[in-house]
Symmetry: C2
Subunit: 448 residues, 2 copies
Amino acid sequence: QRRSAITRTIIFVLSSEWSFLTVLGFLSAALFLTTEIAVDNILGGRLWILSALPNLSFLRLIVWTLYSLFFSIIARFCVEYISPFAAGSGIPEMKSILSGLKLKGYLSFDNLIAKIVGNVVAYCSDLSIGREGPYIMICGILANVLLKLDIFYRIRSDNSSKFQMLSAACAGGIATVFGSPVGGVLFSIEVTSTYYLIQNLTKSFLCAFCAAFFTSYIGNHGLLTPFVTHFDSKTFSNGKILSFIMLGVVCGVLGAFFVVAQDYVSKMRKKYFWLSKDRYKQVCIISIISSIFTYASFMPLHEGQFYTIRSMFSDTKLTEWERPSVYFNLIYFIIFKFFLTVVSIGLPVPCGLFVPVFVMGSAIGRLWGEVLSDLFPDMLITPGGFAVVGAAAMSAGTTRALSTCVIIFELTGQLVYMFPVLISVIVATAVGNLLSPSVYDKILESKG
Amino acid sequence: QRRSAITRTIIFVLSSEWSFLTVLGFLSAALFLTTEIAVDNILGGRLWILSALPNLSFLRLIVWTLYSLFFSIIARFCVEYISPFAAGSGIPEMKSILSGLKLKGYLSFDNLIAKIVGNVVAYCSDLSIGREGPYIMICGILANVLLKLDIFYRIRSDNSSKFQMLSAACAGGIATVFGSPVGGVLFSIEVTSTYYLIQNLTKSFLCAFCAAFFTSYIGNHGLLTPFVTHFDSKTFSNGKILSFIMLGVVCGVLGAFFVVAQDYVSKMRKKYFWLSKDRYKQVCIISIISSIFTYASFMPLHEGQFYTIRSMFSDTKLTEWERPSVYFNLIYFIIFKFFLTVVSIGLPVPCGLFVPVFVMGSAIGRLWGEVLSDLFPDMLITPGGFAVVGAAAMSAGTTRALSTCVIIFELTGQLVYMFPVLISVIVATAVGNLLSPSVYDKILESKG
């Protein structure tokens, strides 16, 4: 059959890479907002049940824990019965796929469903995990599924173009979850590439922009700065600069320790048969511990990780953390969070590690800021600013991605702490690199 | 001779890549601040002479023009007698060098002197040129010269390490001039690489950070946001988003037109013998035209390009541009600036093109904002915000570097216009790419 010139032009435009990336960004955003609604409903349901219960702390704790337990079991169920490839973060696997390895099953539709459902329920189950890792993979699978449409035949048949789309999809995934288009592109490049073809950059940017834009536009989030800060613009004294460098060193060391610790846990899991076999038991035990920690602490941890980050970043006093004392609570939180994250991210459920590490970093920074502000009251320290710097440094110390600094600028919507963030991120990355490989490389290595 | 363990450790640390990059960043910052002092003195000298003259407009204009002419001749002199390699921006040559080509003479000490002196005097001579291109090259040569020191023998003898240092030096150069560490790294990657080894990123970041930090620290610039803006945070209506996209299209087309026009001018220069021979005459004629344009316009252009950018970005009315009318002045400025920049950047003196293009873009955006705000008074348009978007879009339309968006965030210290800047930068890059290669690639191509 013959087509008119206009029809052909329209088809040509619609079947182009640009149209593909716009659609992909839109789908990624729509999917993410849908999962957000699911998360809100599941967590809201728990609060509703709790409010209907008699006012007995112990009963409430049990219901809370059982509720989480139920969802953590579903998460494990998704991996066991829908797709075994859905376990873990997915970033190391995406790196392998983008470097040319053919990992069968990872980009399948089954895995898409398992990742989406599994990550939502796991996230709702109080486990100390994040959403960004699975979402990179989800967006990659979305791209792969979308490519099967007839209209994108031109892209599908060109292998190099197909790879570029997958790489752009990673940027889109990160940009959707964080709402940080520029940081998303850079982070995805750092964690999934060894060599990067600069020519791809425009495509990754387009996909990331569309993803972040539609998330913001449909979700009415406005400017997508979930942790908006309002610090004053200021110059930093030598003493402060030194303290930021020290924070960077501490976060670099802790980041490397985190990498080594999670590797040790994953080795233990392989070594001891009862651990490697009883996967449900593992998930259940850790879910129960996490729930108790989350519900029974003095601090309002049950409000979620994002709430904790906002408290840390605030420029007011941590009134909710004062019982029994801010120092005690922060140290208690950091130690528990570290332990729980180390054991959680290796669980056979879809889980990322960025957000828990980020939360931990914000608490470390806040603690450092509170200590300094008590020791040197005339230095006029803003502990919230130290929390921002700590979050960036700890994330960099673990993932070794310098783009965490861009992500944090986009998350807070401020550039006031540009120099401290940069210096501590560079120091943390350097110190971390001296002590261990990045967490993603270590996972890849241990998977062989 | 035998050395103690401590001495050996110290030497090992001092001779490392990290120490090299820190020193390089420091030297780059120190050198830049020195040239800043020179620029200030030369421009201040002109104002001093003018203030000593009797109040006759015509006499003042002649003195102003002669003063500029003198320095433009010195600039040409530097290229002719110190190093012929100092002409032009240096970015295309750095790209060749980083891709493995051995361009003899470009990284020599002679060229360093010619570039530094030549660029300072050319910048002071009212020519419509910038400083970022030559400064990339200057920082590259600094790295090359520094590598000749005995202590850096380890780096020098390892070819791959040497290339990484040169690549990091490019990032340092941009970061020094713009004061934007993150944007500097990204911009340097985009304009000098085809493939980028992600592993280098930490090194480039370190060098860029040190350069920007020391520039800020020694120069007491505070947070290094030369064009700080104070726009309110807001969401953007559909109409505004559409107008930003249109601005992106316009800037993309104009950017491509700029690339083609400068290529045409450079072809004319080669074709006509009298143009290619009489290089002093060319420099003199264009310098005189530029001076008259700068001094005799109704707007305060003699305050320099940075002053113009600040006026464009301001959220108040353009009171200094109202005689005879803001529209007339903006259109007159854009046309003249376009013409002068096209003929200036091909002159055989050390000159970059980013700043003039950036200024042009800010004026285009401001014009667009003023028009919209007159046409649709109830859309509550901030013309200054449009100027920010226009500056980013026009720079992207010409250089095709998406990192202009990061540079503009760091220059203005605000992320409020993140979405508009991103969308117009992507659109401008895409439209530009449809119509022509990037300006640096075009120059490289025409040089063969």
